[in-house]
């Protein structure tokens, strides 16, 4: 599935496997299955993202108030677009923060 990144594997090898001599620490091939991210809106079959649904929108913004990118949440392009509009509307009417004061 996902390509084995050398950065990850060398780290895991150092922590788990016994250290033997040589230029490279031997490691058991770490096989982790990356969970396939699915769009939550598609799963719930949502055809409209309501800006009044604050609890839902809150799960897609960080504490700072920024929108979480879809590469992290797994939202599909279309739903992220709707989400963006909904978040912006909610911000406008003080349901969501533009930026949280820290």
């Amino acid at each position: 599935m996902a390509p084995h990144t050398p950065g990850h594997s060398s780290h895991s090898g150092r922590s788990s496997g016994p250290r033997t001599g040589g230029d490279r620490p031997r490691k058991p091939r770490r096989q982790y299955v990356r969970r396939r991210k699915v769009c939550r809106f598609c799963v719930d079959k949502m055809d409209y993202v309501d800006y009044k649904n604050v609890d839902l929108l809150k799960t897609f913004i960080l504490d700072r108030g920024k929108v979480i990118p879809r590469r992290i949440t797994g939202t599909c392009a279309r739903h992220q677009r709707w989400l963006k509009v909904a978040i912006k509307r909610a911000r406008n009417i003080a349901l969501l923060p533009f930026a949280a004061g820290i």
Partner: protein
């Protein structure tokens, strides 16, 4: 005659506003809508909620939600002008959502059509159909 459009309007009053005052604002909005051949679909008082940020030094506000149909753009103009000059109102927002609702209806209809076209896709029905 212009086609009918669907709007949602939210306005926020100061939290210490007496209820009667809010009702007065709502009724003025109502008359404006009536004058412009619109009709109000829903009036919902959400009550006092925390604001996500400070508005006019206020951290809370009394939210009122309205949904309405309108035919004339002047209606919204007049509603917003009224809200702007009314003393207890902190903030307001009008959104036109009929296009989005239309899109939603379309998607819902498409999904239903698909389900109707392929009924055997559902596992429960396929079992009964095969036997």
């Amino acid at each position: 005659m212009a086609e009918e459009r669907f709007y949602e309007l939210i306005f926020i009053c100061r939290p210490d506003t007496p209820e009667a005052e809010i009702d007065k604002v709502v009724s003025t909005l109502q008359t404006i809508v009536d004058e412009h051949q619109g009709r109000i679909e829903k009036i919902d008082k959400w009550g006092v909620r925390r604001l996500a940020y400070r508005v006019d030094k206020s951290r809370e506000g009394f939210f009122v939600f309205l949904a309405m149909y309108g035919r004339q753009g002047d209606m919204i103009k007049e509603l917003e002008r009224r809200l702007k000059v009314s003393e207890p109102v902190l903030k307001y927002m009008t959104v036109r959502i009929d296009e989005e609702l239309k899109r939603q209806n379309k998607l819902v209809a498409r999904r239903e059509r698909r389900l109707a076209r392929r009924p055997r896709k559902t596992p429960g029905e396929s079992a009964t159909a095969a036997s």
